[in-house]
Every structure is written in C-alpha cells, then in structure tokens.
Symmetry: C2
Subunit: 210 residues, 2 copies
C-alpha cells in the first residue's frame, strides 16, 4: 500500500500534521489546503495531491476538519502507536538527542542510550545509558526496530552491522559518513557538516559567488 509516497511526501505530511496540532491548540475546527500550504511552504495544489495519494478528501467550500485530518495523518505516520528508539553513541549529539524534549511530546520514546565508555554508563538516568554489549538484549526484549546512530565515522559501519543483526530495521545516522541500507532496512543520513556546507554554498551563490 501507499507505494507512491516518497521521502519528500512523508516529510510534507509531517509538516501538515505539526501545523494541525498548532491549529488545534488555537481551537480551530476547519482548515483549508491554502493554510496548510502556507505552513509547510508548498502550494495548495501540492497539499491536495499529497492528500489524494492517501485517499484524504476535503471539500472545496468547507475545507478539512482539523481533528479528523490530524487523526488520518497520525495514522499514516504511524503515530497512533508508540515508537521506541535507542541511541548509540552518547557524545555531544547523542546526549542531546537522549534528552530532546520534542520526542516525548510526539509519542517517540527513547528507550536507552548505549556507549562503550564506562564513564558514560548510568542505569538510573532517564533514559539509562548502558554498555554496548547489552544492546542486543534490550532490542530483543523490547522488540525495538529503530535506532539513532551518533558514533564517530570510523565506528559507524561496524555499529550499523551490530544493530541490524540485533533486529533494528530503521536507522537515523548522524555519523559523518553515508551509510547504505541492506534490503528490508531504511537508513536516513543526517550529516551536520554537509548541511552547513550546503548553506555556505547557497549563501555564497546568492551573494555573487565564491
């Protein structure tokens, strides 16, 4: 099902859903594709096209009901279930993600962090930080499918193989190396350095070139 949705489409759905949640706190009952287009930085035609891909229909005069639409998007995005992640690598970025308040707000639970440095272990913190050799046990006992990698580049491939063999099916990778997904798994790479380089390039280009 939903075979035609690509990464960009799903990112837009997340943005619509976030905008809807804000509208709900403002007691909005109805919303139009133009409103959602503004909030997500796309055209109204794009909003309608994305919705039609998932069989969501509004009505031109009345728009969409905020609560119904939010529920439909939450279901598509799997947000009607709780999703547990683990974080591997508790350095600067890993620690920030372990304690990022935005995840809990949106039904994403960080089950534990893992590291190889005993100085970072803490069973009693929330979430706990555990030794890497306990990773497979935690993944299996809690049936966790999702992991965030925040390890140095030289360790990334080895850690990836470890988590995949333990049953992880989706990885968000912050290690500054482009990891590739074997069949049946999903890997999204976020490279902070690359993001900054991208910004530098386009700012230079807008200002008349390097």
């Amino acid at each position: 099902m939903q075979a035609m949705a690509n990464r960009s489409c799903i990112i837009r759905l997340s943005r619509y859903k976030n905008a809807l949640n804000r509208l709900r706190t403002l007691n909005f009952v109805r919303v139009f594709s133009d409103n959602l287009a503004d909030a997500a930085g796309v055209t109204a035609a794009q909003v309608r096209k994305d919705f039609s891909l998932f069989g969501i229909t509004g009505n031109r005069r009345g728009g969409y009901r905020v609560d119904e639409l939010a529920e439909q998007l939450n279901k598509i995005l799997g947000k009607d279930q709780l999703h547990e992640f683990i974080v591997i690598g508790v350095g600067n970025i890993g620690r920030a993600l372990l304690h990022y308040p935005g995840f809990e707000r949106s039904g994403i639970n960080i089950a534990a962090g893992f590291d190889i440095d005993p100085a970072k272990f803490n069973r009693d913190s929330k979430p706990p930080v555990l030794p890497l050799d306990q990773l497979a046990g935690v993944i299996k006992s809690r049936d966790i499918k999702l992991a965030i990698l925040a390890v140095p580049d030289y360790a990334a491939q080895q850690v990836l193989e470890l988590v995949l063999s333990a049953g992880i099916r989706g990885v968000l990778n912050f290690a500054p190396i482009c990891l590739k997904a074997p069949a049946g798994c999903v890997i999204n790479n976020i490279n902070l350095e690359t993001e900054l380089e991208n910004l530098i390039y386009f700012v230079n280009a807008a200002n008349g070139g390097n």
Copy 2:
C-alpha cells in the same frame, strides 16, 4: 554561475569531498567515478554529471587525481575560506552543536552561542555563550553571515527576524517549525521529529504497512 546546481547536487559534492578526504589519509593518488559513486550511494553516471556541471573533467583510464579533485570541490563548496557561524539557543541541541568536533575539522568555526537565560551565559567558554542582546554587535563586528537556530518553536520566527535584520544571510534551523526565507536569504530546516517520523513510516511500510 553554477545556476543549475540544486540542494541535492551540493549535498552529493560534500559527500564526494568527504570520501576524497578519507582517501587522502590512505595515501590514494587516483580515484574513479565508480569509487566516489560507491562512497556517496549514487551511480557513476551521476558523479560524472555532477562534476561536468562545474567543469570538472577526469579521464576514463586515469580517473581523477585525488588532491586536485579535493581542491576543486573545496573551492566550489567555499571551503577555501573560513566560515563563522553563531548558534542561537543553547539548550540540548544548541549546546551539542557548539561543541561538535566535526565542524572545526572542516574549517567551520562557531564564533559564539547566544541565549536569553543568564544561567547559560559564559564569556570564558570556547565558544562563549552571550546574552541575546549582544547578537547584533557580534554579527556586525565579525561580519558573520551564517546562523544555526536551536530555539523553541514559538520563538523561532522572532529570532529569525532578529538575525536577518542583523545581517545573517543563511540559517540552519533546528526549531521544529518550517521557517521561510525572504529574498536573498537561505534557510535549511532540519526537524528531528520529522526525520524520525519519516523513518517510522518507511519501516512500517517495508514491514507490511500500518
């Protein structure tokens, strides 16, 4: 110049450049488009197409010289100059970025962090954390064009207007709201929650769907 390069193309160039830096540490002298394709997760034809857009030519038998190619890519990406960023919002994510070792390695300097919470101020840390009302002065005196926003969603639009009016031209936004760039400015949005939702969707889809 280079009017046809889009975001995806520049991200690939960063990946090629990172792969080249690794090859340099291994004393490689030559590299082929197939090697770079493997490292960046694209086809060799894509590598050659990206390079031809910038007038970079190899030779089918000899490939590219690693040092020359790295130099060309560094120049395109503006890495022959030092780029200074500021970070606004020194919470979980902001603090991690202030101390992220990967930036310094790649010629990106974080000049200072800014916050409104006096408990976070520290003139003597490296980089220093300063009150938000000193932001405009620092941007002007050091001619800084680039900022990372890591503030809460409700503060993001106001902080964006503040930094743009002080002279910032490029923003990497971690606040969980989609900011739009006025003419002449560039904004790249990274929404961590959206990235995780994206992963959840595709893992669910690969496992038979929600």
